[in-house]
Amino acid sequence: MNEQPRTLYWVFLGFVGLVISLYVLFPVFWLFLASFKTQAELAQLPISFWPESPTLDAYKALFSPTHQKGQLLDWPQLIGNSFFIAISSTVIVLVFGTLAGYAFARLNFPGRDLILGGLLISRMFQGAALLLPTYRLMSMIGLQDSLIGLVLLYSAFGLPFATWIIASSLREIPKELEESAMIDGASRLQSMVMVVLPLATPALITASMWHFVGAWSEFAFASILLESNDNKTVTIGLASFVELFTLEFQYVGAAATIVALPIMLVFFFGQRYFTRGLLAGAVKG
């Protein structure tokens, strides 16, 4: 009866979605295209949309050690640093977030709900307000300009939220599954590792993705804490282009593309876990 209005509704929604996507993605795509252009092409008028003669020069330049474009940063080093920080802190957050999340979901201890709520409150502080105190603190304990220091810092920032996500998802897993496992002969640790965690995979992946992306793209704390070039991260590298006298957009484009790549890959491979209804069939229904 109202088939047609419904269809129109979806067409309208699709159109709005398309407009928003274009609005958001166009600059990204523009930068991506710029990375294949030459300096001359970028400077010419009228501006060309597609690269006239696509070239990988910008990428080659970023990865060639002899490259001296006024910038001193070594991109392979930056990428390595960023990977080290993002992966290490993700592992830390995942391990401790899982243990803490399990405790919040399954064990009874005084003040449990209060603490769990408190974890969320810690998310409400603006990071910027913590910049100075954090810098002071890290200098005092000798962890400024240190990758390890940044790993610990990001882990501390990421842990509350990861714990919260994981705890909420573990609460959804029927207790009987664990009880059943214990009767089948599992210890608490075994029941957690063999029964609970496989079922919590979507939450674990979501928490990891969330944290990895955040740590990979964090700029403010990295920029005040890391001083030596050997220690800098990709976000600092990106920002450094702007400080140059000549803004060479093809390098910015190439670097931005490289920086975006891990994030895109993470979402590409992680996405399917979001929707997988692993719990179906566990209990009645």
Partner: protein, 354 residues
């Protein structure tokens, strides 16, 4: 196989005691059903035997070995949960073999035992499926298979059929009973459904408010209930209860209608609760007058609701009913089928035996 002995089991949650000293002996190979209304403590008792709850007092022994302090896996029990609790990320075969895998049995042995159990439960074709691909009844069977594979001393069932539809429930009921007759493993089965209790049990334990109300075979409970509660709980439709008093050797209703001979010697004018089952009522020319309020045929038998001046009485009859609603009838209780309970304590003063 194992015998189970419970001695003065108590369980408290904080200041609230939910089990008030339960004593129970279960013989090797016996099928015991714990039955009672929700909140009576039957599930808590079962979970205490499983080791999923710690008891606050008393002793639980399997084969004369006290297991109070043992964790579930050391008790040599298997449990089937109400919601099956199948591991959703494992196939049927993996689900069934999980306990053996934890016990580090060789894979070949696990496969053999799983196959054997699957054979018994008609699950062979489903071994590679995941729980989400199974119907309710199949999931139920996998849960049982997981218990069988272990070959434990005691099977524990916690309301295993309550998630199934009525027809499947009846079918699974028979399957579980048949399985028990085949394996002869000591079984403790919790349900709130008295029909399940009656049809399956060797021994029924009726529980109420954290106490054991009565223990007996299904027919013992049916024929000689120890209290108004058991009398009303076992049997469907429920036993009829009418306030009455003794006049000589006759039990009369408050308005002086004779119900029948007192089932036990009673003091003159002693106040009692008279009880009689719906199938122990006959329509007759004399007897207590009543109005037919409702006629509910179920096919094999017909249920009539009769309304006297004092009470509503349910009767069932296998005969075809010629009465019409609103019609006047007289009924009497089959001689020897009358129960009498103390009006204060609601405990039996004796009653029908056979």
């Amino acid at each position: 196989m194992g015998s189970v002995a419970l001695r003065n089991i108590r369980k408290s949650y904080g200041a609230v005691e939910v089990l008030h000293g339960i004593d129970l002996d279960i013989k090797e190979g016996e099928f015991t059903v714990l039955v009672g209304p929700s909140g009576c403590g039957k599930s808590t008792l079962l979970r205490s035997i499983a080791g999923l709850e710690t008891i606050s007092g008393g002793d639980i022994a399997i084969d004369d070995r006290v297991i109070n302090a043992l964790v579930p896996k050391e008790r040599d029990i298997a449990m089937v949960f109400q919601n099956y609790a199948l591991y959703p990320h494992m196939t049927v075969a993996k689900n069934m073999g999980f306990s053996l895998r934890l016990a580090k049995e060789p894979q070949a042995e696990i496969d053999r035992k799983v196959r054997a159990a699957a054979e018994i439960l008609d699950l062979t074709a489903l071994l590679d499926r995941y729980p989400r691909q199974l119907s309710g009844g199949q999931r139920q069977r996998v849960a049982m298979g997981r218990a069988i594979v272990r070959d434990p001393k005691v099977f524990l069932f916690d309301e295993p059929l309550s998630n199934l539809d009525a027809k499947l429930r009846v079918q699974m009921r028979s399957e579980i009973k048949e399985l028990h007759q085949r394996l002869k493993t000591t079984t403790i089965y919790v349900t709130h459904d008295q029909i399940e209790a009656m049809t399956m049990a060797d021994k029924i334990v009726v529980m109420r408010g954290g106490h054991v109300e009565q223990i007996g075979t299904p027919l013992e409970l049916y024929d000689s209930p120890a209290s108004v509660f058991v009398a009303g709980f076992i049997g469907s439709p429920s036993m009829n209860f009418i306030p009455a008093h003794a006049t000589g050797t006759t039990l009369e209703t408050e308005t002086g209608m004779p119900l029948g001979e007192t089932p036990a010697p009673l003091g003159h004018n002693q106040q009692v609760i008279a009880g009689f089952r719906p199938e122990d009522i006959r329509l007759s020319d004399t007897g207590i007058p009543a109005k037919v309020a409702l006629i509910e045929p179920t096919g094999a038998e017909t249920q009539l609701t009769l309304r006297t001046d004092e009470a509503s009485v349910i009767m069932t009859t296998r005969e075809r009913v010629t009465q019409t609603p609103g019609g006047l009838v007289h009924f009497s209780v089959t001689p020897g089928k009358l129960h009498a309970f103390d009006a204060e304590t609601e405990l039996t003063l004796a009653g029908a035996r056979q």
